[in-house]
């Protein structure tokens, strides 16, 4: 990873050309620690529920979809609160804090309802912190380097997500059956992450602090011509994005390699994401964020086509996983980089939140739609249909985003 700290950590704002701001690295560290903490718990949750609490994991999966919706709305609230107060840092602190507290609350939660409540608190915290954190990244970075800045942040975040399950299983190996140990260690990681955020991330005053942007103004800013096209394009592409879970299920359905390694399929995707987040972010800075965002969806079309192929094998499975990583690297950090340049500084957090929420809700709707198609026609024909629709949507999205490249 090519990153150097050049500017003074004390103020952190405004990066020198060619380098990633210290604030971005600090926020990446916070995300890394927090992701170790949350993935530790997430990776053992199915085991914990079945082995220690005595529940059927299917019952848990059933409820998981609902948090996503609630989290999406809280994300908008978080983005707006950051803009309104002009202090996105403290909104992020509340979000990270809620997740940290939910770790230690797992010790006391025993029943299904209590565990559900604790997991929900964690998701709500995640929803609240995402947009103000991304607004901070945008505020602290050179506008010409936004793609790289978000790439660096997402790469650090993914390192945490990859380490979490390792730490959890090492713990379970050393103290068998002690899920409480996992919760305590997870809490420790979250607290250190929170401390880095509170102590070192500068409380960058965004333009909103002086503007005191009202709700109506924020809505009007988001609905402006410049933002409307990208939001609609992101929503349309999101509607045609099949959830990874479905792709993994398709893979395991057709070949035994994927079935045996099912629990680890996401690791393959994460590795590709981790390796490509920074290079694709830099590419986006050079050739245009909208272009990279749209091109990422071409990788997704190839995923669908490979997934729809009747016979698989290790080669095809690994290719699908890597292409999924390419897709995430080309979209996840690039979207806020694109949006934050289009929105006025006083509504930046709200605009990022709006874009991420549009994508999350569109993907949720897509999951429901795809699930329905899957149960009627099976995976292959559903994937082919989505591939055809996405192929048609990509040029349309490119046209809608034609004005989104800000002159540099």
């Amino acid at each position: 990873m090519y990153v150097t700290i050049r500017d003074r950590p004390a103020d952190g704002a405004g990066a020198t050309a060619g380098k990633v701001s210290a604030t971005v690295l600090l926020l990446g560290t916070v995300s890394l620690l927090t992701d170790v903490s949350s993935e530790m718990v997430a990776s053992v949750l199915p085991l914990y529920l079945t082995a220690a609490v005595g529940l059927n994991p299917v019952a848990f999966g059933f409820l998981d979809g609902m948090y996503q919706g609630v989290s999406a709305f809280l994300r908008i609230a978080g983005g707006y609160a950051g803009d309104r107060g002009g202090q996105p840092k403290w909104v992020a602190v509340v979000g990270y804090g809620a997740s940290a507290i939910s770790r230690i609350a797992m010790l006391a939660a025993t029943g299904f309802a209590a565990i559900t409540a604790v997991v929900t608190a964690d998701r709500l915290g995640k929803g609240l912190r995402t947009a103000p954190r991304d607004a901070l990244i945008a505020e602290a970075s050179d506008p010409a380097m936004l793609g790289r800045a978000f790439g660096v942040h997402r790469a650090l975040d993914t390192v945490g997500a990859a380490l979490g399950p390792l730490v959890a299983f090492a713990l379970l190996w050393s103290v068998p059956g002690s899920y409480d140990s996992i919760f305590v260690v997870s809490f420790a990681f979250a607290v250190v992450g929170l401390a880095v955020l509170v102590l070192f991330v500068p409380n960058l005053r965004t333009a909103g602090a002086t503007a005191r942007i009202g709700l109506r103004n924020a809505v009007r800013e988001i609905g402006r011509r410049g933002l409307r096209g990208p939001l609609l394009a992101a929503g349309m592409l999101g509607l045609l994005t099949v959830g990874d879970g479905f792709l993994y299920l398709t893979l395991q359905d057709r070949d035994d390699f994927a079935a045996v390694w099912f629990p680890l399929l996401y690791v393959g995707t994460n590795v590709a994401y981790l390796a490509l987040a920074v290079p694709l972010g830099r590419l986006a800075d050079r050739v245009g964020r909208a272009r990279v965002l749209v091109a990422g969806h071409v990788a997704l079309v190839v995923c669908y086509l490979l997934g729809a192929f009747p016979s698989g094998g290790i080669g095809s499975t690994v290719t699908v996983l890597l292409l999924l990583g390419v897709f995430y690297a080309a979209t996840d950090g690039v979207l806020p980089a694109l949006i934050s340049r289009l929105a006025p500084a006083r509504a930046r957090g709200s605009a990022i939140a709006a874009a991420q929420t549009v994508v999350a809700l569109a993907r949720f709707a897509s999951s429901l739609l795809f699930g329905l198609l899957w149960s009627v026609g099976g995976p292959a024909s559903s994937l082919l249909l989505f591939a055809a629709l996405l192929t048609a949507a990509i040029p349309v999205a490119a046209w809608m985003l034609r004005g989104a490249e800000v002159a540099r």
């Binding site: 999966g61 059933f62 998981d64 996503q68 299983f169 103290v175 068998p176 990874d244 079935a259």
Partner: protein
Amino acid sequence: MSARVRAAVLAAVLIMALTGAAGYVWKVRADQAASLAAAPAVARGGDLATVRAAPHLVFRSTALGREYGRVAVVPLSDPGGARTFTPATCERVHATAVDAICLSADRGLVTTYQARLLGTDWAPVRDLPLTGIPSRARLSRDGALAATTTFVFGDSYANPGQFSTRTVVTRTGGEVIGDLEKFRLVVDGRTITAADRNLWGVTFAGGDTFYATAASGGKTWLVRGSLSARTVTALRGDVECPSLSPDGTRIAFKKHGDLPAGRWRLAVHDLRTGAETLLAETRSVDDQVEWLDDGTIVYGLPRQASGTASSDVWKVPADGAGAPELLIRDAWSPAVVRTALAEGNHP
């Protein structure tokens, strides 16, 4: 705050987090070692061959101590009494007089699972084909057929209730009969071709016939299947994990009804009249039950005791009367072996 003060505060938080977490894990380790050392010795039963010669119960022993997870047997005449350990260690076990099927897991970064067929001496005879996480295993009464169900969960992100099973029936000689999900599923005279159909929880009825759970589009059914015709036909709705009574007239099962997600109630379905009887057990049971005799069923229930997960085997009358009773403490996955082979072939 100056940079130095902030660095000092971070260092303090780091040290506190590190010592706190490490101290907690260390204490748990020490407590585990202490409770293992202090675990009351489990009463040891008589010689294995003698216990197995009479009707007996085979189960996974979850009593703390060195034998945690080992398969044990107790005579049906004194199930709560002393247990005799076998050499096998399994997460789930099902047994007949001549063989046993053992599901085991090697937990680790990549948890691997085995389904092994064990001979009369509890030594592995062969591995059964397995993909995914095994959840149910059953042998036919004559010990000639084995069924394993594995769950392959979907990533739960926004895919409510997504899951997928594979249920494979194998002759214990090694011949694979097939994946039940490839069998024809008939509900109300119509063939269901939906890709989301799943089958699990097989109970063999002797010869060619078996019962199982089929699911599609959020509904579950009790199905009767034919291995030779490769077809399963729905008998009624809302039935999971069926278990056929020894006299072949009734099916005990778990029923979801209008309970909250993840909860089930035990019930018995009479194959002759179609009547349903709710049992006196009101706690949620997520297990494929066994029949102790024609009037009683047995099942495992998890128990949370002093931080360690354990479980007990309970029994309840099959006619809806009476109350649940503790049958075997510190036990899981019961299998009832009534006698030697002769009684094995039921109508």
